[in-house]
């Protein structure tokens, strides 16, 4: 038992003496491929302006394009704004005649006689006796439907008394005046007014003021009677007073503004565009602005048309209303009507002009029937402006124009090379395209290449003369809408010093040129479309047959790494190279400030392929380059960029090597690192 207990105690002691647990960690050696790629020239040089072409012997030709001239003449045919103004005053406004009538019927008269309706029933027959002073009365004449007040500079008032009664009247005296006033406007004295007849008296209204409330007083009117003859009694028979106000020339008034045409005009708007002769324009931007100012207290209506401006066959027109002005004030309205997208016929109403737009404008007032204040000072001021027209397309003669320009073009694609190279052949084409419907001449005055070391001026007899290019061709309703006219000049090392310009490894190309539109005097019709102009580009074709040493390619790329627990690492670059070019590769890890964190250098190089006597590859060569890190953890964690520096040497070094389309370089990046596991 004692021994048993001792043993048990020992076991417990053993369990209690646990090792302080520390999580185990260890280093492992990991080697793994990271990435691979196949490089050929088409993916080494990822640039839309560099291409490669394969020649008949499968060798490659580098084709490099650079645009040196790109000019359009959009500003040539901007049509400046033009305004027309119409100012109409009230003095020219016509008022129509105003007619007011008042009647005294037979029924009215008989009703005023005692037992009249019994003695003289309607429809009956009776002898009308003579009466005196039966018609004496004052009755109102209401003209407020037409005016409340009118002061005339000129006009006439016709007072007509028409006897519709079945009996003659005599000693008729009638006075007409403004209600409540004593001075008469007109007085009529008619000794005898037979039944069925009328008498008219006219009075000038010049300098007079009439009010809408008039009154007429029958001072005297005796009924002659019909004795001994009975007559039919018709209560609707009447004695009628008719007042006609005519030939109105208003100075001021409060009246119903009559229907009135304010203006109705056809206008031809002519644009000054120098020697350009436009016949038709498709509008990119443009419109008509109407500014109306009025003191008339009624609505002014304006209609504007440009018949020769259409969209889908529909002419451009608009309708605009200028509201009534406030009393004692004026109203101003501005509206803009856009005609972008419309096509304008610039040849006028009859198609016999150029640079013109034919317009129709009309302004009028429809009487509202509302009585308003009217004054001779009232006026309508109307300005219609055709805004600046920027054409999308224009047809006609585009005129002559000369452009002189100098440009410095970035040519850095070749300046990234350092080292020496000699090109066996080179051909440079100057391709000029004219997308304008007009002839053009391009004269290159100066063409030079500038590097850090040299400036070389281009020499060739071919540039002694301007490059003449014909007019482009329009393709209506099809794509592309313009077929440019082209011209090509070919320069090589025989007819120029173009090879020296390229071998100079310039960082810029300088071009001084002159562009002439319609250089001759033929004034042929053509066209000009927006964003279409004249372009010239250099197309450099270099058969890849060259010899070079220490040609240095440099590039910097952005990278991002987040790697932990890595110690002691190296990269191995496995290559299979079929280019007859060896390469020394250096990599520099840079931080965000472009400071070098670590330099990755290898003692090995990418070996050139094995070649035959003609420099053509017969077998590719494998190489293994090792790049060791000194401090991978810190370097990769801070690394934001990797700068690559590749030095190329053609092999054999003393002969031209030709690059064929099937040449490529397989690259595989392998990482070998010490990784700490936990």
């Amino acid at each position: 038992m004692k021994h048993t207990l001792s043993y048990l105690f020992f076991i417990c002691f053993l369990f209690s003496c646990r090792h302080d647990f520390e999580k185990p960690t260890w280093d492992t050696d990991i080697i793994t491929p990271i990435a691979f790629t196949n490089l050929n020239l088409s993916n080494i040089v990822k640039d839309s302006i560099i291409q490669f072409d394969t020649l008949s012997d499968n060798s490659l030709k580098l084709i490099y394009q650079k645009e040196i001239i790109n000019y359009n003449f959009d500003s040539l045919i901007h049509l400046k704004p033009i305004s027309t103004t119409k100012n109409v005053k009230l003095e020219t406004i016509n008022f129509s005649n105003t007619t007011v009538t008042h009647s005294i019927t037979m029924g009215d008269l008989i009703s005023s006689i005692d037992f009249g309706t019994i003695l003289f029933p309607d429809g009956g027959t009776a002898v009308i006796p003579a009466y005196s002073d039966l018609l004496n009365e004052t009755f109102p004449i209401d003209a407020n439907d037409y005016f409340e007040e009118m002061t005339f500079t000129d006009g006439y008032l016709d007072l007509t008394i028409e006897n519709g009664l079945p009996t003659d009247l005599n000693n008729v005296v009638i006075e007409l005046r403004n209600e409540g006033q004593t001075n008469n406007i007109i007085t009529m004295n008619i000794p005898l007014l037979p039944s069925g007849e009328s008498e008219t008296s006219t009075e000038s209204l010049a300098g007079q003021t009439l009010f809408g409330n008039l009154e007429a007083e029958i001072i005297s009117a005796d009924i002659v009677g019909t004795a001994p003859n009975p007559v039919t009694i018709n209560y609707s028979d009447a004695l009628t007073a008719k007042i006609v106000i005519r030939d109105i020339k208003l100075q001021e008034g409060i009246a119903v503004f009559p229907d009135q045409e304010i203006f109705d005009e056809d206008t031809v708007v002519a644009f000054d565009v120098g020697d350009v002769k436009l016949k038709r324009v498709l509008v990119a931007e443009g419109g008509v602005e109407v500014v109306g100012v009025s003191t008339i207290q009624d609505t002014l209506k304006i209609e504007y048309k440009i018949p020769g401006t259409t969209l889908n066959g529909q002419p451009f027109e608009f309708y605009f209303e200028l509201p009534p002005a406030p009393e004692g004030g004026s109203i101003t309205e501005t509206k803009l009507f856009d005609f972008s997208g419309y096509e304008i016929d610039m040849t006028g109403k009859y198609g016999d002009t150029i640079n013109t737009i034919y317009t129709e404008s009309r302004g009028w007032i429809d009487s509202s029937g509302v009585v308003t204040h009217i004054s001779l000072e009232d006026s309508v001021f109307n300005t219609i402006t055709i805004k600046k027209i920027i054409p999308e397309k224009a047809w006609g003669y585009m005129g002559k124009d000369t452009i002189n320009e100098s440009q410095e073009l970035d040519f850095g694609d070749f300046s990234d090379f350092s080292g020496q190279f000699d090109l066996e052949h080179i051909e440079v084409k100057l391709l000029t395209e004219n997308s304008i419907g007009a002839k053009a001449d391009v004269r290159i005055n100066t063409f030079k290449s500038t590097s850090d070391q040299n400036e070389i001026i281009f020499n060739s007899d071919m540039l002694s003369y301007p490059i003449s290019i014909g007019s482009a061709t329009e393709n209506p309703n099809s794509k592309p809408e313009v077929t440019p006219s082209a011209s090509t000049l070919v320069f090589n090392e025989v007819n120029s010093n173009i090879d020296e310009l390229i071998e100079n490894k310039p960082h810029t190309l300088g071009v001084d040129f002159e562009l002439l539109l319609n250089p001759d005097d033929n004034q042929d019709d053509g066209f000009l479309f927006k964003n279409y102009g004249v372009k010239s580009k250099l197309q450099i074709e270099i058969p890849l047959s060259f010899s070079g040493s220490n040609i240095s390619l440099n590039d910097t790329v952005d990278v991002s790494f987040s790697i932990d627990n890595i110690e002691q690492a190296s990269f191995t670059l496995l290559t299979q190279n079929s280019y007859p070019i060896d390469a020394e590769i250096k990599m520099y890890l840079l931080d965000q400030n472009n400071m070098v964190l670590e330099s990755l250098l290898s003692e090995q190089i990418v070996q050139a392929s094995e070649v035959d006597a003609n420099g053509k590859t017969i077998s590719s060569t494998s190489s293994e380059l090792t790049f060791a890190f000194n401090n991978i953890n810190e370097s990769l964690s801070l690394c934001k960029k990797i700068a690559f520096e590749v030095a190329l040497n053609t092999q054999p070094s003393n002969q031209f090597v030709t690059i064929y389309s099937n040449y490529a370089m397989d690259l595989k990046l392998v990482a070998n690192f010490n990784y700490t596991l936990e």
């Binding site: 048993t4 048990l8 053993l14 302080d20 520390e22 260890w26 080697i31 990271i34 691979f36 392998v670």
Partner: protein, 388 residues
């Protein structure tokens, strides 16, 4: 007399035929390792240098095991021969290859140009509770039948796994064929006894006298657990060769491209189907022979051979000698085979009139680190109510 005591001792140890009513509680827990002893294990904390890694690798065999077991049981035995027990069993068994450890510790650089065979890799882990009813039909035969509530389960087998690194590391490839089934583990820590499956189990034992001793044959844990339809089932056959990422623009590469590739591989290797799965319990077959010895120092010995399906590659052979001192019984044994490393085992039993106390260990080497390949302890307490 010593003969019968020996027989009784064995019988008590085995808890087979009972002539008494009793209630007992047994618990045991153990961690087993077939290759790495405690001494080496104690050196394997913190940073492992090259020598320590080498020591670990040298200690390994082609196939190695590591296991954990925990068993707890309440047992009521009636003198009329029937018994009822409630138990919980947790087990985790893993087999791994030496190549796998080498690759993990050293990385793949030392194995360039070598096709590493990483299989076999097997993992079986389970946690289930069991309610058994047993009956002693006769002196010779006892059977038990039980119901199982499964809590958690994992069974993964890598049938084939190869890993190869090109001598220039131009490519790496692997080939893997594995199968795995596992229950939902999202609630593993919060609900260790969640209901994820149901099963049944059967056991039988036959005892008979031979010569002066006794022979017993038993089959236990003959049964299955049907895990529910949330069980993940994977059967992956995959072959992949990695030669780096093909980058069109070689110099626009970043490590995120690698990570994306790894994520893509991971998803391919983790495709699984949720459906029920039926798992056969690791049935235990046991044959034991107990013989008395007419010796004043050792009263008897027993030889047993035990095999567990899907766990043991080779059966476990145990030889035990027994000593009785009044109410105290001691047994010292040695086992080979099975899942753990060869080693000594020890048992102590105090058999009082009413109370029995049992203490035992299958890793009696634990006190000597250089030969200690695990830890194990078992305790049993039994209260006898009456005997026939």
């Amino acid at each position: 007399m010593p003969k019968y005591f020996s027989i009784l001792l064995v019988a008590l140890t085995l808890s087979a035929y009972s002539q008494e009513s009793s209630l007992e509680f047994n618990t045991d827990i153990g961690l087993f390792n077939s290759s790495i002893n405690s001494q080496l294990l104690s050196q394997s904390y913190g940073f492992l240098d090259a020598k320590e890694k080498s020591n670990i690798i040298d200690a390994l065999k082609a196939e190695n095991n590591i296991a954990f077991e925990s068993n707890n049981a309440f047992l009521y035995q009636n003198k009329k021969g029937w018994g009822l027990s409630l138990s919980n069993h947790i087990g985790a068994y893993a087999t791994y290859s030496k190549s796998l450890v080498e690759l993990s510790l050293l990385g793949n650089t030392p194995f360039k140009g070598e096709n590493l065979k990483l299989d076999p890799i097997d993992i079986t882990a389970f946690n289930y509770s069991q309610l058994d009813f047993s009956y002693q039909w006769s002196k010779k035969i006892q059977t038990s039948v039980g119901l199982i509530l499964g809590h958690h389960f994992l069974d993964a087998t890598v049938n084939e796994a190869h890993f190869y690194t090109d001598p220039q590391a131009a490519f790496i490839n692997y080939q893997v064929d594995y199968e795995a089934h596992f229950t939902d583990t999202t609630d593993l820590s919060q609900k260790p006894f969640s209901k994820n499956g149901y099963g049944a189990v059967f056991g039988i034992s036959y005892k008979d006298s031979i010569s002066n001793g006794e022979i017993e044959l038993s089959i236990n844990d003959l049964g299955f657990i049907g895990w529910n339809d949330k069980t993940s089932n994977m059967h992956i056959e995959s072959q992949y060769e990695f030669e780096g990422i093909n980058v069109d623009d070689f110099i626009s590469f970043s490590d995120s491209i690698i990570r994306n590739e790894i994520d893509s591989l991971q998803s391919d290797l983790q495709i699984n189907i949720k459906e029920s799965y039926s798992w056969q319990l690791p049935t235990k077959f046991r044959l034991s022979i107990n013989q008395p010895l007419y010796n004043s120092f050792i009263q008897g010995y027993s030889l047993s051979i035990e095999y567990r399906i899907n766990l043991y590659d080779i059966p476990k052979l145990t030889l035990e000698v027994h000593k009785k001192m009044k109410q105290h019984r001691l047994a010292l044994g040695y086992h080979i085979g099975g899942f753990e490393h060869n080693g000594f085992q020890f048992s102590y039993l105090y058999a009082g009139e009413k109370t029995h106390f049992h203490f035992y260990t299958k890793q009696f080497n634990a006190g000597i680190p250089s030969v200690s390949y695990g830890l194990h302890i078992g305790i049993g307490i039994k209260r006898v109510f009456s005997s026939s």
